[in-house]
C-alpha cells in the first residue's frame, strides 16, 4: 500500500446559501483545492453526498460536479453513507491512491439542505434509519438519539445540563472559524433553557442542517514529490458498519462501528488513543459525541460526558474535539461534513488554525451515519 498525502484543501462557508445551488458550492470548494494543489485535473473524483435526490431532485451528482468544476470526463462517482458520506468518500479516495490504481484523486463533499422546509428535511433524514422497522413507526433521527440519551442518563446518573459542555465547546471554537455557521458563544444556562426538540434533546444540542461543500486532494508520494515533506499524510483509514436499526444492537450505547473503524485505523497507523492530539468527532448530538469518545478509547464506559464536564475536550484539554466548531457550530451539511472534518484537521496539522490552533502531531476524524450504522475513521499526521 502506498502512502497518501493531502496536497490541497478547499471549503465554502457553512450556512443557508439561499442563492447558491449544490453544484455551485461543490465547484467552488473543488476549484479552491485544485488551485491550492496547483493542478487542474485528477484521475478520479469521489463525491460525498447523502440526500441530493430527496432534497434537490438531482441524482448522478458526481458527474454533474465533475462537469461544473471543469473536470468533464473525469472518473467520478457519488458515495453515500448517510451522515458518513463525506468520510466514506475520503475512504474510497484513499483506497484508490493507496492501492496504486490512481495517483491523484479529488474528494468533494457537498450537501444542499435549504431548498425545502424544515419538516420535509426531517423526513428525508429519516432515510438513514431502518425504513421498515424504525422509520415506518414515525421515529425521527432526533427521536432515536433522544432514546439513547435518555438511557445513558439513566444508566450513568446524569442530568440533561451535564451534556452542555459539548455545545459550549463547539460554539466557543466556532467563533474563530470564518467558515462556521454559528460564530457566537453559548452558555451552559442557555443550553439548559433551550427549547426541547425531542426530550431530552434540545435546540442547542442538535447540529444544524445547512449547505456547504468541502474538498481534499489526495495524491501518492511520487506525485507529491518535494511537497510530500510539507504535506499532511493519511496514516490510518478504516470503515466499519453495524446493524442499522438501534434495536438490533446488543448494546445500543456502544458504537460498534465507531469502535471497529477506530481500532483498525489505530492498528494501521501503529498508534493508540494516547497518541491522538485532536479528535474531530461526529457531534450531530451531544450523546453521539460522548459515545464516540467512549467507543474510540478516550473515555471509559459512561465517562464520555464526565470527560467533557472536566474540560478535557476544549482546545486546552487532553483531547480537543470540534476544534473549528464541529458539526454543532461549524454546521452539519450532511454528506459534506466528513470532508469538512478532514479539511479542518489538515488546517490544524499544518498550523493554519489561527486562534483555534492546537499543537498536535496526530489528528483523528470520524464520521458517522445515522445512529451508528456506518462509521469511518481517518488518522492524519502532521508534516514535521
Amino acid at each position: 500500500m502506498r502512502k497518501v498525502y493531502v496536497v490541497g484543501i478547499g471549503q465554502t462557508p457553512v450556512q443557508e446559501h439561499w442563492d447558491r445551488s449544490a453544484r455551485d458550492l461543490a465547484a467552488d470548494s473543488t476549484l479552491q483545492a485544485l488551485e491550492q494543489a496547483a493542478i487542474d485535473k485528477a484521475d478520479a473524483l469521489y463525491v460525498g453526498n447523502a440526500l441530493s435526490g430527496e432534497l434537490t431532485g438531482q441524482e448522478q451528482v458526481a458527474a454533474l460536479v465533475a462537469d461544473f468544476a471543469g473536470l468533464t470526463g473525469t472518473e467520478a462517482v457519488r458515495v453515500e453513507a448517510a451522515g458518513a458520506s463525506g468520510g466514506a468518500a475520503v475512504r474510497l479516495g484513499y483506497l484508490a491512491v493507496a492501492s496504486g490504481v490512481h495517483d491523484t484523486v479529488i474528494v468533494t463533499g457537498v450537501e444542499k439542505m435549504s431548498d425545502l422546509p424544515g419538516p420535509v428535511v426531517e423526513e428525508a433524514l429519516v432515510t438513514s434509519t431502518d425504513e421498515e422497522y424504525e422509520a415506518i413507526h414515525g421515529l425521527s433521527l432526533v427521536a432515536l438519539h433522544a432514546l439513547l440519551m435518555r438511557r445513558y442518563m439513566h444508566d450513568f446518573d446524569l442530568e440533561r445540563s451535564d451534556f452542555a459542555h459539548f455545545s459550549v465547546n463547539a460554539h466557543r471554537n466556532g467563533v474563530h472559524n470564518p467558515c462556521a455557521m454559528y460564530r457566537r458563544p453559548i452558555s451552559v444556562e442557555a443550553f439548559e433553557r433551550a427549547k426541547l426538540v425531542a426530550d431530552p434533546i434540545s435546540l442547542l444540542d442538535s447540529a444544524p442542517a445547512a449547505d456547504g461543500a468541502a474538498t481534499v486532494i489526495l495524491c501518492s508520494e511520487d506525485v507529491a514529490g518535494d511537497k510530500a515533506r510539507s504535506s499532511v499524510e493519511i496514516i490510518g483509514s478504516a470503515l466499519a458498519t453495524d446493524a442499522v436499526a438501534l434495536h438490533d444492537r446488543p448494546n445500543p450505547l456502544f458504537l460498534r462501528a465507531a469502535h471497529q473503524s477506530a481500532q483498525k485505523a489505530y492498528a494501521q497507523a501503529g498508534v493508540g488513543p494516547e497518541q491522538i492530539g485532536i479528535f474531530e468527532l461526529h457531534d450531530a448530538f451531544a450523546i453521539l459525541a460522548a459515545l464516540s469518545l467512549e467507543a474510540c478509547g478516550f473515555a471509559g464506559e459512561g465517562q464520555g460526558v464526565r470527560l467533557a464536564m472536566e474540560g478535557e475536550i476544549t482546545l486546552e484539554g487532553r483531547i480537543p474535539i470540534s476544534t473549528m466548531g464541529g458539526l454543532k457550530a461549524r454546521g452539519y451539511p450532511l454528506g459534506a461534513s466528513g470532508v469538512y472534518q478532514i479539511v479542518e484537521l489538515v488546517q490544524q496539522l499544518r498550523s493554519e488554525a489561527g486562534a483555534n490552533q492546537v499543537e498536535a502531531r496526530l489528528g483523528m476524524a470520524q464520521s458517522i451515519g445515522g445512529t451508528g450504522g456506518t462509521a469511518v475513521t481517518h488518522i492524519l499526521k502532521s508534516p514535521h
Binding site: E16, W18, D19, S114, P117, G118, K195
Partner: protein, 349 residues
C-alpha cells in the same frame, strides 16, 4: 425615492379591529398540549358576519369622519387585501358605495400579500400628487386564515386601516418621500385551488422580510439624508413579535421609537392592515412635528417605505372617533370551538 410634484399628505385615517380575541395559549392548548413557545398574547378574530368588506368599510368611515370629508369627494377607493370575498369582482366597489363615493370615482382591489394596502397608498399619492384628484383613499384590510395546527395559526388575524391622501395644506401628516423595493421572491404563496397558503419557512426571513424591508427603508433614508435618530417613530410590517423588533434594531432604531406602533402581540398579524394599523396607532398619539417612518412588507416580495411628518392638524378628530387603542381594548375572548366556527373551519358537508 419618489415624491410627487404636488405636495401631499394624509388628510384623514381610520382603523378597525373586530372585537373577538383568541389567545395563543388557547390555540396551544388544543394543538400542542399547551407546550408551545408563545410569542404573542392573542389575535383578533372576525365575527360571523364580518369579512374584509365590512372591516374595510368601518376603517373607511372612520377615516372620512377624521378627515371631515364627504365620501363623494373621493376620486379613488383602492383596497389592498389577500382575503377578498370574491376572486373576480372588486370589493372596493362595495366599500365605495357604502361610503358614498360612487359613481364618479375609480375603485379597484390591489394584491401584494401584506403590502397591498401600502401599494394602494403609493398609487393614491400618485393620483393626488399629479393633480388628477384631490382625495384618494388607500385601504389595507384582511381576514387572514391559518391552517389549523400550523405555526401561522397563532398569528393570522383580521383588521383594517384606511388612509385618505389629499393636499398637504389639509394634511395631518405630510409626505416627505417614498420608496418601493420589489423582487420576484416566492417566499409565501397560494394557488387558486388551495385553501391555505404555502409558507417558505426560514426562507421568509433573511432573504425575504429582512432584505426587502431594510433595502426600502435604507434607500429612502439615504436619499432624504436621514438617519434613525432623525425619526420620532417607526413602524414595520408585523408578521410576529420578533421580526419587526429585529429589523428595527438592525436599522438602528430604539424601543421608544417602535413601541407605539407595535401591536402584533395584542392583535396578531392583520396582514395587509398590519403596518397601516401600526401607523394609525402612532398617529393617534403623535404630537405635531413628529417624523415617522413606515416600511411595510409583502411576500412575493417587496417593501414600501414612507417618510411622514405630522402637522398641527394631527390632534383634530381624536374624539369621538375611536382610536386604535379603543379597538384593541374592545375585546371579547372566545375559545377554540367558537373560533373554529367563526373562521369557517367547521364544515358540515
Amino acid at each position: 425615492m419618489m415624491k410627487p410634484l404636488r405636495d401631499v399628505g394624509i388628510v384623514g385615517y381610520g382603523a378597525y379591529l373586530p372585537r373577538y380575541r383568541i389567545s395563543a395559549e388557547e390555540i396551544s392548548r388544543v394543538w400542542k398540549m399547551g407546550e408551545d413557545n408563545l410569542h404573542l398574547e392573542e389575535k383578533a378574530v372576525p365575527g360571523l358576519d364580518e369579512d374584509t368588506t365590512t372591516i374595510a368599510i368601518e376603517a373607511a368611515r372612520n377615516a372620512l369622519r377624521k378627515a371631515n370629508l364627504d365620501g363623494s369627494k373621493l376620486s379613488a377607493i383602492w383596497l389592498g387585501s389577500e382575503s377578498k370575498p370574491y376572486s373576480v369582482k372588486p370589493t372596493a366597489t362595495i366599500v365605495a358605495e357604502a361610503v358614498g363615493a360612487t359613481p364618479h370615482t375609480t375603485a379597484a382591489d390591489w394584491e401584494f400579500a401584506c403590502k397591498a394596502g401600502t401599494e394602494a397608498m403609493q398609487a393614491a399619492i400618485g393620483l393626488v400628487g399629479s393633480g388628477m384628484a384631490d382625495y384618494a383613499m388607500a385601504i389595507g384590510a384582511d381576514t387572514a386564515q391559518g391552517r389549523p395546527g400550523d405555526q401561522l395559526e397563532y398569528t393570522a388575524a383580521a383588521g383594517g386601516a384606511a388612509f385618505i391622501v389629499g393636499p398637504q395644506e389639509e394634511s395631518m401628516a405630510y409626505l416627505e418621500g417614498s420608496h418601493s423595493y420589489v423582487t420576484d421572491t416566492p417566499d409565501f404563496f397560494r394557488r387558486p385551488n388551495q385553501q391555505y397558503p404555502t409558507h417558505g419557512n426560514r426562507f421568509t426571513g433573511e432573504p425575504a422580510y429582512f432584505t426587502h424591508t431594510m433595502m426600502a427603508a435604507r434607500q429612502l433614508m439615504d436619499e432624504l439624508g436621514y438617519g434613525p435618530e432623525d425619526y420620532d417613530k417607526v413602524v414595520f410590517h408585523q408578521p410576529n413579535s420578533k421580526f419587526p423588533v429585529r429589523v428595527a434594531e438592525r436599522l438602528g432604531f430604539e424601543e421608544e421609537q417602535y413601541r407605539d406602533g407595535l401591536l402584533v402581540p395584542y392583535v396578531g398579524n392583520t396582514y395587509a392592515a398590519s403596518s397601516g394599523i401600526g401607523l394609525a396607532a402612532i398617529l393617534d398619539k403623535a404630537d405635531p412635528g413628529e417624523r415617522i417612518l413606515l416600511a411595510s412588507y409583502g411576500s412575493g416580495a417587496g417593501s414600501d417605505a414612507f417618510s411622514f411628518v405630522t402637522t398641527e392638524q394631527i390632534t383634530r378628530g381624536r374624539n369621538p372617533i375611536p382610536l386604535v387603542s379603543d379597538y384593541v381594548r374592545r375585546r371579547r375572548q372566545i375559545d377554540y370551538a367558537r373560533y373554529a366556527r367563526q373562521r369557517g373551519k367547521l364544515v358540515m358537508y
